[in-house]
Amino acid sequence: MDYFIELLFAGLTRGSIYALIALGYTMVYGIIGLINFAHGEIYMIGAFTSFIVATVLSIYGFPLLAIVIIAAVAAAVWSSAYGFTVEKLAYRPLRKAPRLAPLISAIGMSIFLQNYVLLAQTSDFLPFPELIPEFAFMEPVAHIVGSSDMVILVTTAIVMIALTCLIKFTKIGKAMRATAQDKTMAVLVGVNVDRVISATFIIGSALAAIGGLLIASHIGQINFYIGFLAGIKAFTAAVLGGIGSIPGAVLGSLVLGLTESFATGYISSDYEDVFAFSLLVLILIFKPSGLLGKTETKKV
């Protein structure tokens, strides 16, 4: 039973990280129908920014709490700035282009950003400062669920609730939903669609940056390549849940995380990714729009 709970928490932790990244994919897809392949790189840049800021601050002797807060804010700010700029440079000019053009642009952007960080920083793995301390009160259960797992779970939950409120109740949230559902009509009621799309990129990037900060301090290292696999997995999770759907992205991520964790625990980690992708194929065969996706009626 202990083992089951251990794997459960491992899966939830992993799923939470996927969720933070998957939301960016799903929100962008919901609004402009683009698979933003560079999103994994935004997550990586978030992790790198928080690494740089946190290390600099710790060298200058700031207290831990200040470091955590400043690093998180900096990561969110710069990731958002990158998300915003990438959209403006690589996707906005292609708003009316053939459907695959922005996809290739996104792949190019992804390659570019990876190599940009590689060249400006280093190809080596870097030790990420420990931003999450080992809490004393967690000690009795630390072998099952550690402090960093807990922080990840709690933070993700808070972020999810905040995002839901934002989408549900604020003006920009409503504008985002309206734009996703009917772009022309959104324009006709006075929504500046360009601004809404930028906002979507900014919010999605900030979430990914939080994910980057959390996971980097959880596993204790980063390099320029961490965005690739995490991005692909998060994207898979978003599709699994029904791409375009926000609760779908969260559910899909948790399902994916748990599948990987239990598959590793009870079967073998050799085929961890095979299980993940097979699950995706199976679910899509029986539910072609993902777990919470709506069956689309195609406009004729």
Binding site: G33, I35, I45, F48, T49, F51, I52, T55, V56, I59, A74, A81, Y82, T85, A90, P93, L94, A97, P98, R99, L100, A101, P102, L103, I104, S105, I107, G108, M109, S110, I111, F112, L113, Q114, N115, Y116, V117, L119, A120, Q121, L126, P127, P129, I232, F235, T236, I243, Y271, V274, A276, F277, L280, V281, L284, I285, P288, S289, E296, K298, V300
Partner: protein, 409 residues
């Protein structure tokens, strides 16, 4: 004269980039020695560079608009390449010249150049194969590399276990890949565009992971070495001879592929694909069997990938799963989109650019992939329809203008 407003905007752009790149470009920390180096000179370069660049981009755009507005008053003139493609008068001599150049290539250049060109030609065929799936039939396949892997491993394994020769395996590899395409296609082809994309991506990864983990079958990550090059009537060949030989094999395959794909596009089936790409529901109403038509496109694309896979194994004489990653699929897809979806010549040009570019960008050494990514983005932004944008689109508006009226397809 350049407007002052634009200068101000460029200044703002440069400020923005200075801010944007600040943590990554300027700060470098050594977490072990606990030292921070501030590379302010980088910030200066970025600010200056982006200032100059944004002005250049603006000038470029203004000129483009000016040219476009001038053009609008006359007829819309076609790009040069497209006109050449259209006119048999230009096309045939050009094709002949290309062919002669292709044949004499190994005589003109070194073995190394021939080797690189062989790789490029392999991607031409891969691009043309994927073009059937993505460009013509409109099915977004992000796992195309799986079929390539199937071809490569067919040759490696059949040769290793049963000592089968290159020429025997060549068709088998293609058929196995096509078969796999059918098996995969059945359940997934009813998925909508982007769902299909991620499922094929997942499938490509599954194939690679199986090859990586199933040691008894594929020898795992260490791969299979000592795959023989194609034999030439039992004659043993020198290394340079082998390279040249494979070059000619792939050259013949390129010609064959172009011929077949061209015929296919103008056939009933080709038109059904195009129609399917434009509007699935209307197609069904007109009695086109959607699943069957898609399946044929999917397996035909796979067949070509399998073919090239066999040649890949013979050329490198070594296969391991690391050669079949998602990036490979992405590059083949980029070839198709960059060249211009659905256009044969576009795909050929796209493949030559994308494969030869990194090879000749070696001079840029570590900036190679950075430049590659940037070029992909820039090409897409300035030419979203690809180098040769789809010629066929014209016949929708047949007779609307003088130039388009000439289109006698």
């Amino acid at each position: 004269m350049f407007p002052v407003k634009e200068l101000k905007r460029s200044a703002l752009t440069s400020l923005w980039f200075a801010f944007l790149t600040f943590p990554i470009m300027v700060v470098k920390v050594d977490p072990i020695e606990r030292v921070v180096s501030w590379r302010w000179d980088n910030m200066f370069f970025i600010a200056f560079g982006s200032f100059v660049f944004s002005i250049l981009a603006k000038v470029f755009i203004i000129q483009k608009e000016r040219r476009a507005s001038k053009k609008k008053q006359k007829t819309i003139s076609e790009p040069l390449v497209q006109r050449i493609v259209r006119e048999p008068r230009f096309l045939y001599p050009l094709a002949l010249a290309c062919f002669i150049f292709g044949i004499s290539f190994p005589f003109l250049f070194s073995t190394y150049q021939t080797n690189i060109m062989t790789t490029a030609l392999m991607y031409v065929v891969l691009g043309l194969g994927l073009n059937i799936v993505v460009g013509v039939a409109g099915l977004l396949d992000l796992g195309y590399v799986a079929f390539y892997a199937v071809g490569a491993y067919s040759y490696a394994l059949l040769n290793y276990n049963f000592d089968m020769g290159f020429w025997t395996v060549l068709p088998i590899g293609g058929l196995l890949a096509a078969l796999l395409g059918i098996i995969l296609g059945f359940p997934v082809l009813r998925l909508r565009g982007d769902y299909l994309a991620i499922v094929t991506l997942g499938f490509g990864e599954i194939i690679r992971l199986v090859l990586e983990n199933w040691n008894d079958f594929s020898q795992g990550p260490s791969g299979i070495a000592n795959i023989p090059r194609p034999s030439f009537f039992g004659m043993d060949m020198t290394f340079a001879g082998g390279i040249t030989y494979i070059y000619y094999i792939i050259l013949v395959l390129v010609v064959l592929t172009i011929f077949v794909v061209n015929r296919l596009q103008n056939s009933r089936l080709g038109r059904a694909w195009l129609a399917l790409r434009e509007d699935e529901i209307a197609c069904e109403a007109m009695g086109i069997d959607k699943t069957k038509t898609k399946l044929i496109a999917f397996s035909l694309g796979a067949f070509w990938a399998g073919f090239v896979g066999v040649i890949f194994a013979a050329k490198t004489t070594f296969v391991n799963p690391a050669s079949f990653t998602f990036l490979e699929s992405a590059i083949i897809l980029s070839i198709v989109v960059l060249g211009g979806m659905g256009s044969i010549i576009g795909v050929v040009i796209g493949a030559l650019i994308l494969i030869l570019l990194p090879e000749y960008l070696r001079a840029l050494s570590e900036y190679r992939m950075l430049a590659f990514g940037a070029i992909l983005v820039v090409m897409m932004v300035f030419k979203p329809g690809g180098i040769i944008s789809n010629v066929r689109r014209n016949y929708k508006f047949k007779g609307l203008s003088v130039v388009e009226g000439k289109n006698n397809e």
